[in-house]
Structures are given as structure tokens and as C-alpha cells.
Amino acid sequence: MAKFQRSLSARQRTKARYGVIFVLPAFLLATVFMIYPLFASLYLSLTKYNFAFDTKPQFIGMENYVKAFQDSAFIDSIGVTAVYSVLYFVLVMLGGLILALMLFYAKGKTSVFRTAYFLPIVIPLSLSSFIFNWILQKNYGLLNYFLADILGVGSLTREWLSTNPWAMISIVVVSVWATVGFETILFLNGLQALPEDMLEAGIVDGATGFRTLFSIILPNLRETFAVTGIWAILQALKVYIVPSLVTWGGPGTATTVMYMYVYRQSFTYLEMGYGAALGFIMSILIMALSLLNMRISKKV
């Protein structure tokens, strides 16, 4: 017995040793190159440093962070991001799951559909944003042309990009279109990893299909939910390209998201110090939500 325990702990120790060795290269790849920039940014976030006019950073402590919470434009941009994120998160998670379930249940040839759902994500987002910016234009866009000239319902035509709430809806739809394929693949992989005997019952017994879905399949997708959830949160809160190229943050500031504001501080105003501080605030927000997501998907 004692011998067995010792051998177990010895194995445990071997495992731990291998664990460190296995993790280290990936961990270093992810961090080493970023450590200097991250610490440099951390320092900058404590300074006043306008790259255009200040010769060197001037230490001001936490002032940038205090300023951020009094900056109504920044707070507004967080609000916009929150609205966008909720809409996007729900749609992309649900959409991804439903598409994956459809692909999963449809026995037979599905590779065409899989490719179709995945295709949008391989187009660089900046290019697809331009395409949608054009599709949704008022006077020469495809959607209004389709509504008025093909369907004959001219009254449904809108200024999709420059009126509320259509501008927000537009960027959510474009983002979901562009990214739902990847969520689908992640979910599909999770579904396919489920033990077959567990599923057998559900697939054979078509009548209780929905019940198997909720009582067997979804609870066993926990790990997949953790990953897809984090990815969706990252995509949602770090959204930048779609609102900057599809609606240009307008009308007014209705679609000016957090990342756009941070980018503007850093690269338009060249306020490197303040921009870095905003970056850290943004990062902490996303981190908190990601951890929450991990908690929830572990418990459910």
C-alpha cells in the first residue's frame, strides 16, 4: 500500500516534471516576445506621453486611469461595446451551435455546407467589411437594390449604415456572418468528441431528440462552451475592424466601440500614455468576463 502510494506520487512528480517541460516552449512563445512590450506599455500607462510633442514620458502615477473613468467619450464607447457584445455573443454562440448541430445530425455529405459556413472567415475582415459597406449603401448598395428593384418593396429601403438602430444591427450581422463559421467548427469538433454510445440513444430515439439535446449533449459540451465562449467574448469586446470600416463609428458615436477609442488615442492623437492605460482597462474588463465565462461553463 505504502509502496503503491509512493509510486503514485512518483508518477505524479514525473507527470508534473513533464508538464512543465511540455508547457514551457508554448508559454515562452506566447510571452517572451510580448513581455517587453507589455511592461513598456504598463510603464507608459503611468506617464503622460504624447508621441508627437513630448520628448520623453513624464511619470504621473495613476492619473491616466483616473482620467479614463471621467472620460465620458470612453465610457460611452464601453456602453456601445456592451450593447454590441451582448447581441453578438448571443447570436454567434446560438448560430454556431445550431449550425453545428445541423451538420452533426445530417448524416451524409455535408462538406459543401461546412465549407460554405466557414468560407466567410477566410476572407480578411477588412476586405469583407468593405464589401458590406457597399452592400448596405443607401444609393448604390445591393440590399436596397434587391428590396426595391427585385422585390418591389421600395418602402423597405433604409439608410442601413447611417440611422439608428440599423447601424448597430448592421455591424452585428456583418460580424456574425464573418465569424460564425469558426464557432461552428469548434462546436462540431466538440460534438464529434462525445462518446458514441451516449449519443446512440438520442439519435435512434428521434421523438425525444430535443430532450437528449438538453439533457445529454449540451451538458457534455462544457469544455467546448468554455473555448467558444472565450473566443466569442474576445471577438465581441475587441471588435474594431467592422465598426471602423462598415459604419465608421457612426451615426454620431452610435457604433464607436472601445477599441476604436483606444486606437484613436494611441494612433490619431498619439497619446501613448493614455492609450496604454485604456488598453489595460480594456484588457482587465475582457479578462474578468473570460474568467467568468470559464467559471460558468465549468459549473453548468
Binding site: 444609393n139 418591389g152 421600395g154 459604419t247
Partner: protein
């Protein structure tokens, strides 16, 4: 001892002469960098080839800049006395702030004596172009092409609506914004609930500040208050905003530029929009797309008398370059040469920086726009001027969408100006 001393002196003299000679002997290779459209529209490849032909042994390399967001990386290089670019084209002189404040650029006037050569005196240039390249009273940017805001008109639509000035054989010129509204109303056509012909598009996107400056300059003849500080406050300006709001609400003035600066130009080019109030070169694009004679120029209210908003693409030369003279020479012979300057005018609708090339214009609209440009103003070179391009258009858009009142709108515009650092760089 004396001998040694004299030998040393001679040696020192020789060495210093040698170093002078070396300084004179610049590397015979320069790199010119700009955005891809600048390289195309200024015919830089042709200019480089010609320059290499005229000066055997010289090499001109062209590199393309993806966008201006990476300009700070050039400041990092230049501060260390290194550069891989000798002539850099930038679209907005405010982008050069980071270089000027660190004294990283050559002053064309003092350092390079650029204006001393015949044909390149200051009077030979379009005034607003030079002004746009002037920072802290120094000529850090050399204008290459200029633009000015005006009213691009679709000829057929204007004639049909009776908005043709027979004497001038050109579209009528509006005296007030009410006139613009009336014109647009006549031109605007709706079929089955969908816009068939858009009355007017005003640049209300991220270049709204340009529209505001152009409009204010045209109406009031100045964009500054009595203290010489940028100000939009005036009776005319308030009236104009009300007209804008009315037109936007009725759909006569389109908001499509909110989400794309080019939206107006594209729909004008497609013949869908009849009046386009933004850069005056846009009418040429309609001619290219729909055939010569499709479009021509009128101006903003008061623009012909008082001028408009003018801006230019300027070339800068970093002090880190080892070939400043060659770089300046390339600007003179290449970028400001006849081929590039008239080509950009007649093919792409960009005004030449040198006034003499207007003589080669194929369309009379260019002489018209030259008059407008001569009185035009550019953005004030304030430290905080970047705010103009980021914070004004959301305010105007909220007013046009009736989210805020006129007074709130004016207050907010003023608040942006107040919060800007208005000192020079």
C-alpha cells in the same frame, strides 16, 4: 617641430577638405515613399524613370506606404539618424507634427533654398498649397498636388432643372445655403419609395471638418474670430446648420457619407447623385465613368468670392537622409515637373501645386477652381488639430439626426475648439 606642425596642419586641411568633398558627394540613390494612390495619381513611376534617364547613375526607388498609422515608426528611425526613405508624401500636414516637434525635417526654404531657383519662387505656387505645408512658419512640407472643396454638378440634371448659367455656360452658383437646398429639392427624385436620383450629398463623414471650414470661409470670408482663433460661431453658420438639418430630414441631402467618405463620390460617379459638395476634383471621375461632359463645377455659397477649404499632399524630406539635395532635385524635376503636374490635373482631377500648369488644363472648370483655391484656407496648424477630424463629425451627425438642438450643437463644436491645444507645434 615647425615642420611637423605644418605637415599636421596640411594633413588636417586635407582631411577637412576630404570631408567636405565627401559631404558634397551624396549617395546617388533615393527612396520615394507614398500611399499607392499617390504613386499612381502623381505619376511617380514615370517621374522616377525620367529622372534616372536625365541623370545617369542615379537610382530612384519607389516604396508604398500602407497607411499613415505607421508614421511614428519613421520618427523612431529618424531620431536615430537612420532612414530608409528620402522623400515621403503625406496627405495631411498635421501628420508631420511628430517630426516637426523633434526637428526631424528639412525646411525647404532655409535649409534647401528651394525657392531660389527660377520657376520655383513662392509666387509660382498655389497659395493654399504652400500654406498647408507651412508649420511654425517654416516650409517643412512641399505641396505636390492641391485640392479645394466645391460643388460638383451633374450637367444633364442641372440643365433639366433649369439650373444652368448660360453666360458662364456652367452650373449656376448658389448665393446662400437656401439656394443649395432649393437646387437639391428640384433635383431630388423618388420612385416607389426608393431614391432614384439623390438631390445632393454633403461630405458629413470623417471629413466633416473640411466641409465646415469650406462653408464658413465661403459664407463669412474667414474661419477665425477676432482673436484669430478658429470659430464656427456666426449667424450664417447657424442658418446653414438649420438648412442642412431640414434637407437631411427630407432626404434631399443624403447622409450616406456617414459610413463612407467615398459614398458621395461613388454615387455621383454613377450618375445617381446630382450635386456633390466636397473636393472639387470629383467631377472628373464622373466624366471618366459616364463619358466626357457629364459633370462640371460650381462652388459652395460664397466660395467663388471668398474661397473654400483647400488642402494638399506634401512631400517631406527627413534630416536623416544622406541625399537631401538629390531628394529636393527629384521633387523639382519629377513631382513638380510638367508630366506629373499636368497629368494629375487632366487625368485624375488633382490641382497642380505650381500655378503655371493650369494653362495646360483641358477643362475650363480648373481655372474656376483655381480662383476658388486662391482664396481658400487650410486647417489651422494647431497642436490639437487632429481632434478636428475625429470629434466634429459625431456632433454634426447628432444634430442632423435631431438628437441635439442647434444651441447644443454650437456649444459642443465650441467645446472641441476650446479643448484643443491651439499653440503651434
Amino acid at each position: 617641430m615647425k615642420k611637423i606642425l605644418s605637415v599636421m596642419m596640411i594633413l588636417a586641411m586635407l582631411m577637412s577638405m576630404g570631408s567636405v568633398a565627401l559631404a558634397e558627394e551624396e549617395p546617388q540613390k533615393i527612396t520615394v515613399m507614398g500611399l499607392s494612390w499617390q504613386i499612381t495619381k502623381i505619376f511617380i513611376e514615370e517621374a522616377a524613370a525620367q529622372f534616372e534617364k536625365d541623370h545617369p547613375g542615379v537610382e530612384v526607388v519607389i516604396e508604398t506606404l500602407p497607411d499613415y498609422a505607421s508614421l511614428p515608426t519613421y520618427a523612431v528611425n529618424w531620431m536615430n539618424g537612420e532612414t530608409d526613405v528620402d522623400v515621403l508624401l503625406i496627405g495631411d500636414a498635421n501628420n508631420a507634427a511628430q517630426f516637426v516637434s523633434r526637428d526631424l525635417l528639412y525646411d525647404f526654404e532655409e535649409d534647401l533654398k528651394f525657392f531660389e531657383e527660377e520657376g520655383f519662387a513662392k509666387e509660382d505656387f498655389l497659395g493654399v498649397g504652400l500654406l498647408d505645408g507651412t508649420i511654425n512658419d517654416k516650409q517643412y512640407g512641399m505641396p505636390i498636388i492641391c485640392e479645394a472643396y466645391a460643388m460638383n454638378c451633374n450637367n444633364a440634371a442641372m440643365k433639366e432643372a433649369g439650373l444652368w448659367d448660360e453666360d458662364r455656360d456652367a452650373p449656376v452658383m448658389p448665393a446662400t445655403w437656401d439656394d443649395v437646398y432649393e437646387y437639391a429639392k428640384k433635383l431630388h427624385k423618388v420612385e416607389d419609395g426608393k431614391v432614384a436620383t439623390q438631390g445632393a450629398v454633403i461630405q458629413w463623414g470623417s471629413s466633416t471638418f473640411a466641409t465646415l471650414i469650406a462653408a464658413k470661409q465661403g459664407m463669412d470670408g474667414t474661419i477665425y474670430d477676432e482673436n484669430g482663433i478658429l470659430s464656427f460661431e456666426s449667424e450664417n453658420f447657424r442658418k446653414m446648420l438649420e438648412v442642412w438639418q431640414k434637407g437631411a430630414k427630407e432626404g434631399i441631402f443624403s447622409k450616406e457619407t456617414y459610413a463612407d467618405n467615398m459614398a458621395g463620390r461613388n454615387s455621383f460617379k454613377a450618375g445617381i447623385t446630382s450635386l456633390l459638395l466636397e473636393t472639387g476634383g470629383a467631377f472628373v471621375e464622373a466624366d471618366v465613368n459616364l463619358g466626357p461632359g457629364t459633370a462640371s463645377l460650381s462652388c459652395f455659397p460664397g466660395g467663388y468670392e471668398n474661397g473654400s477649404y483647400g488642402f494638399s499632399t506634401v512631400a517631406i524630406i527627413p534630416r536623416a537622409t544622406k541625399s537631401p539635395k538629390l531628394a529636393a532635385q527629384f521633387i523639382k524635376e519629377g513631382l513638380l515637373g510638367k508630366n506629373s503636374q499636368t497629368g494629375t490635373l487632366n487625368v485624375y482631377g488633382k490641382m497642380p501645386a505650381l500655378a503655371r500648369y493650369f494653362e495646360n488644363a483641358e477643362l475650363k472648370d480648373w481655372q474656376f477652381l483655381q480662383v476658388v483655391a486662391n482664396n481658400s484656407v487650410c486647417t489651422p496648424k494647431y497642436k490639437g488639430a487632429t481632434k478636428l477630424s475625429t470629434e466634429l463629425h459625431p456632433i454634426i451627425q447628432s444634430y442632423l439626426d435631431e438628437a441635439i438642438t442647434l444651441d447644443e450643437c454650437m456649444d459642443k463644436l465650441q467645446a472641441v475648439i476650446d479643448s484643443m491645444e491651439k499653440s503651434a507645434y
